[in-house]
Symmetry: C2
Subunit: 360 residues, 2 copies
């Protein structure tokens, strides 16, 4: 798996150019490229620039609208439903999160459910928008059905991630961003490239038997909810994924469960469409709607330091706080550049050629 | 493990009597006994009347205040912080949930963080209060530190459960109520009584090694976050438990992390007390703050039926929807009575004698 290192700004600029070439207004192209590249910076390589050609293909088959009329279709003082008009989730999500933040400024909290969207990149990028306002940020989304609930062969849910970001004082913020499956699809892709088996509890085959085959999804298999099997709590991972689906799609009128549109443009849309596009859910809670922000942040510092100083099991250097690994990636890659696999570089070069723009 | 069957109403009446005997006002005794007994009805035997003598002991050592001044100490249109004045969590939680519901009526959603409380029974009882108002209900709580985060030997979190309840139309409601650990403590107690080992990924010993000993908590061991170990996603269970702690205690000013007061009255309070009592968090979201409730409930029915009709793995009869097993218990036990272990019966008889009330 050869790779090359590219400066973050070069990748950002290229991505912005591509989004402009498919017709995104300049401001939206900027928003989308920042959202997409935040994944590469934070070490979530599966959700970053590696997906750029995928978004372009969705636009080519007219499943992404480059000039959407993103708007609120219903609201109360603390809630809104946003219609994304089939735009890029990378643009719709920051729009919706901003509404949640404005509502939190006005009445303490804001909650926005989104219909008619597409994949929004990583949840953390959107949830973290709340931090500079001394708010807790929440972001979640449903996704293409790849996950079999406990006792099911059918794939009924996506990896349905949840992110919660909370500000601290002198410590960096707490940022928990997790798929509600034992392992996300990106982890399988890494094993596929290395020709390795998966651990127990990650996937099952098309008959629902436990499997260790990293390629099993291509053979009719499924990802498993966090917990793996019933004895290890998979009904909990399933329930959490279901909650994400309900908040993101049932509250907004988006597609849900096995009827969520697939990300790959070559996979046909489900015959049944009970809603519109895919769904997201965002929340913002103003800290001082509960307690003075300085008190909260002081407690967060104490909390974080408590975990960092916990005694570790033999062989482990330290107990991590959610968000630590991603923040370390972010600092390093912003400074030293982002490693891109050769296969992805080829993909980006093909995009450069298609749109007559320079990549290097 | 011999057991006897008691009618629900008899247990409820007895529990109400005991709460009155320790000085609870009659209305609060009624609220508390209903909350406690809902666990027995729903099959969560570890959290029901089996804990009644534990609550009494907390009152005896003056850690439970039978006549608390439960009040809002801060609020905005969509939020509140409640000071439980060291009362029974079984009383404070319904009080706080009711505030969340009232705020949701006014501005779409309501969010209440609680300090200075005690254990509140099962989360589902409180979250489900929202259902009759066509709202989604959310309840969570922190708890005594029994859980070691990923890579930690120290026990830094409680089993920190989350419940989300959402109404449906012709189908029964969706009710996900889950500890953020692979298995809750009650599951260990069942294995202890049967003299059985735990499956892999439930507990570790005092040095952080994997263990199968159902009695390991008494030997310095710990429960493990949902996922079990890093390879199986325990950092996700840990992150979810941490979110519960932040919402319940850091937002309210309750104790958090390893400083949460223990439930057993004989366990000394932690030397350090960074907050007050234990913390809870409640939410209510009015469905029609997002979308007409009839549309939502129709979609929920379709969603639920989709899961129920999913193809099952060999040997399993059906795919369950979160809340199904507890609802089946509730129907059966309300009709046929609640089985109580002989050890618990002895406990209740001792209470009857102590307070000169009749049990049978």
């Amino acid at each position: 798996m050869a790779e090359k290192i590219f400066p973050y700004n070069q990748l950002l600029e290229f991505t912005r150019n591509v989004f402009e070439k498919i017709g995104c207004p300049p401001e939206q192209a900027k928003t989308a490229s920042r959202a997409l590249l935040s994944a590469d910076l934070r070490g979530i390589d599966s959700h970053g620039v590696a997906r750029l050609s995928g978004y372009v293909r969705l636009w080519e088959v007219k499943r992404v609208n480059a000039t959407p009329n993103i708007r609120i279709i219903h609201e109360t003082p603390s809630t809104a439903v946003v219609d994304g008009d089939s735009g890029l989730g990378l643009v719709i999500a920051p729009f919706a999160m901003q509404i949640a933040i404005e509502k939190a400024k006005a009445v303490g909290t804001g909650w926005v459910s989104v219909q008619h969207s597409n994949h929004f990149g990583i949840a953390a990028h959107h949830a973290m928008m709340a931090l500079e306002h001394d708010m807790i940020g929440i972001a979640m989304t449903n996704a293409s059905p790849l996950v079999a609930p406990t006792f099911s062969i059918d794939k009924m849910l996506g990896t349905n991630p949840i992110c919660v970001a909370a500000p601290a004082g002198t410590e960096p913020p707490f940022v928990a961003d997790l798929a509600t499956t034992t392992a996300a699809n990106g982890k399988l892709e890494i094993l596929q490239r290395k020709n390795l088996d998966t651990p127990t509890g990650w996937v099952q085959d098309k008959e629902g038997n436990p499997s260790h085959d990293a390629n099993i999804l291509k053979k009719g298999g499924a990802l498993l909810p966090l917990g793996g099997d019933r004895e290890h709590g998979s009904h909990k991972g399933y329930a959490l994924g279901a909650v994400v689906d309900i908040f993101s799609a049932l509250l907004s009128g988006a597609n849900y469960a096995p009827w969520v549109p697939p990300f790959p443009a070559y996979v046909p849309m489900p015959a049944q469409q009970p809603g519109k596009g895919i769904g997201h859910f965002f929340g913002a809670m103003r800290i001082d709607a509960f307690r003075p922000a300085t008190d909260f942040k002081q407690s967060m510092d104490h909390w974080i330091q408590g975990f960092r100083n916990a005694k570790t099991v033999s062989g482990e250097e330290k107990v991590l706080v959610p968000g630590d690994p991603e923040r370390e990636f972010e600092i390093l890659r912003f400074k030293n550049g982002v490693p891109i696999l050769d296969a992805v570089v080829n993909d980006l070069e093909a995009l450069a050629e298609k749109f007559s723009i320079s990549f290097l």
